[in-house]
């Protein structure tokens, strides 16, 4: 007995309190810092206090698109939401063209509610198709991608309309409101048990299911959350565009996914969060900002954008792989 006691005393179980930084987030963060430095050095005027709000405003649709794709990527099992961009475009068309333009309703509460409800509705459709009809996420959300961009185009065939002052404000100093609102939604979500269940589902859906988690419900929740964030993104897009435009939305899907991956959100699920999406989105915005400012040929801009995307994703993948190898005995 005393022997056991000595052994126990010799090896006290004290949890080590060290802050562990997951290296897969470092590449995106490093890139962000580097891009920020280069941007500040070459083009300080767009980051001057007077212009900072407008610059940030321009970045908000990319940031919110990256937020909106994150929950579906996080839930894993092939999770991806291609419909994010078209939803943002559809929200823009519905609120600016139909609600404000045609019906003449520009009350902020109604507009915001309609925008969020549109996003939620598409997210719910995505979630039900994926979790209960069990269509592969990429196929189901491709279907809603085409349907949403088609509906936006049939509501309005060419850009037009204008936004009320309060909505225009969201492109300037008030732009931070949309991002903060999205962050608040996410923060509330991470406080809920559903967040843990989502991460468990991503880690191993079968194990999660066997331990009593309703994985189908969790997957629906991920797409609904993504839809809600896309709805907020639609508001930001409407503010930045200052008009209804059915053609620009779809571009935000792939930019958003690229941004999330840039920041270190794993496409395989289970790794990352909305802060990484934020880092990646700002980095992508800074890259575009820099290349546009340097006035390089738009073709070279594509080359640089594509090459950096491949490099970032490959390096993040490589780091993740090294980590996994080190953890394995």
């Amino acid at each position: 007995m005393s022997e056991v006691a000595t052994v126990q005393a010799a090896a006290p179980v004290t949890p080590r309190r060290t802050v562990r930084v997951d290296p897969t987030s470092l590449f995106g963060a490093g890139l962000l810092v580097a891009l920020l430095v280069v941007n500040l050095a070459t083009n300080p005027s767009s980051f001057a206090p007077a212009n900072l709000a407008a610059t940030f405003g321009l970045a908000t649709p990319i940031i919110l698109a990256a937020f909106a794709v994150t929950p579906s990527l996080l839930v894993g099992n092939g999770g991806i939401d291609l419909s994010v961009g078209p939803v943002m475009g559809l929200v823009d068309v519905i609120i600016v063209h139909d609600l404000i333009g045609r019906a003449g309703i520009s009350d902020p509460v109604v507009v915001v509610v309609v925008a969020l409800a549109t996003g939620l509705a598409v997210g719910l459709v995505n979630g039900l198709l994926i979790a209960y009809v069990r269509i592969e996420p990429i196929v189901a959300s491709l279907g809603t991608y085409l349907a949403c961009s088609g509906v936006a185009l049939s509501l309005l065939s060419s850009p037009g309309g204008s936004v009320p002052n309060w909505l225009g404000e969201l492109a300037g100093g008030a732009s931070v409101v949309t991002v903060l609102a999205a962050l608040a939604v996410w923060w509330l979500f991470t406080r809920r048990p559903a967040y843990t269940q989502l991460m468990a589902t991503a880690g191993d859906e079968r194990a999660a299911f066997t331990s009593g988690i309703d994985t189908a419900r969790i997957r629906v929740l991920a797409y609904v959350l993504g839809g809600l964030l896309a709805g907020i993104g639609g508001l930001a897009l409407a503010a930045v565009l200052g008009s209804a435009d059915p053609t620009v939305g779809p571009n935000y899907t792939l930019t958003g996914i690229a941004a999330a991956a840039f920041g270190g959100v794993s496409l395989a699920g289970g790794r990352g969060g909305i802060l990484r999406a934020l880092v990646g989105a700002v980095a992508i915005f800074l890259l575009q900002n820099l290349l546009t400012y340097l006035n390089v040929s738009p073709f070279l801009l594509d080359v640089a954008y594509g090459a950096v995307l491949v490099a970032a994703v490959a390096v993040n993948g490589q780091i993740g792989e090294l980590l996994a190898r080190r953890r394995r005995p």
Partner: protein, 322 residues
């Protein structure tokens, strides 16, 4: 061949998608004056052959568990690069050889990066595709100098015949390539390995199937076929255009999934994709004939993909996978 493999390769989608093809055709004949004649069939077959070629590689890549979003970019880049090389005085055949070789290398590189770094090819192919089109556009300064020689245009002209057969030669080329492709998937060691890798990567590795080789081959084939589609498009439109491939970004995936090949790999085949390509092209033609706009067309296409895949491409419930 074992019964299990046969079951995997049987496309459950075929009866449904063939029925759909007939229904769309019947609607076209009933609703549109002059639809359904020889000229309609010629046009639909011609347009389907471009999509069918571009989606062939996509089928193979999806079968092994990947996805290739670089197809539209490779179509555009090959389209412009061949015109530019020929415009600078190179013989057209040599230009084609160079472009196809470059496309093969490009595809192999995509696969190598995806497998080595263990990242999903979705973003790799998207990024590399954006870069390759940018590179070609930068080289030509956006204004490629050359055009298509007459022999290429005659391959893809709607009125052209192939000997006694009243369809353009490109349709015959598509048919031959389709037969070869189905043979490759069903009757060769490579095809068998591709299905094995797609349905169970871990088991395939234990069976000494080397994923890197299969992935490199699949992505290279996909890029080469996309480049062929791009070069043929040059003959069809007459002048080079880097955006000529953009509809194929999602149409190639659409044709594959409507044809019953499952995303994630392991089940399906090219016969389904070929019918999927015909279905999508016919749908577009009928919509155009009915005077319905692009917008409605896109909406219906999206719903069609969901309904069709919901009908025959459903996944297994998690409780059956424990």
């Amino acid at each position: 061949m074992s019964a299990h493999l046969q079951r995997l390769r049987r496309a459950p989608a075929l009866p449904i998608s063939i029925a759909l093809l007939i229904v769309i055709y019947a609607v076209g004949v009933a609703e549109i004056d002059g639809f359904g004649g020889q000229s309609t069939i010629r046009a639909v077959l011609l347009l389907s052959s471009f999509l069918g070629l571009a989606a062939a590689g996509q089928t193979l890549v999806i079968l092994i568990g990947g996805i290739d979003l670089s197809i539209p970019f490779v179509v555009g880049a090959a389209n412009v690069a061949v015109a530019q090389l020929a415009g600078k005085g190179m013989s057209f055949v040599l230009a084609i050889v160079i472009v196809l070789a470059a496309a093969g290398l490009f595809g192999a590189l995509n696969a190598l990066i995806s497998v080595r770094c263990r990242v999903h090819p979705l973003l790799i192919t998207l990024g590399s595709g954006t870069a390759i089109v940018g590179l070609v556009q930068w080289w030509t300064k956006g204004l490629p100098v050359g055009g298509a020689p007459n022999w290429l245009s005659s391959l893809v002209s709607i009125g052209a015949n192939t000997g006694p057969v009243p369809v353009a030669p490109v349709v015959v080329i598509w048919l031959v390539l389709a037969i070869l492709f189905v043979f490759l998937l069903r009757r060769t060691v490579f095809g068998r390995k591709a299905y094995a890798l797609g349905s169970a990567p871990e088991a395939a590795a234990l069976a000494l199937i080397r994923p890197v080789r299969i992935w490199i081959a699949a992505f290279a084939i996909s890029a080469v076929l996309a480049a062929i589609a791009g070069i043929l498009q040059l003959g069809f439109t007459g002048s080079a255009d880097a955006t000529v491939g953009s509809p194929y970004l999602f149409l190639s995936v659409g044709a594959v999934v409507i044809g019953g090949t499952a995303i994630g790999g392991g089940t399906g085949g090219y016969t389904g994709t070929a019918i999927g390509a015909l279905t999508l092209t016919l749908l577009t033609t009928v919509f155009a004939g009915l005077g319905l706009g692009d917008a409605l067309q896109q909406t219906v296409l999206g719903l069609a993909i969901i309904v069709l895949v919901g009908a025959y491409g459903r996944g297994a419930h998690v409780r059956t996978r424990i």
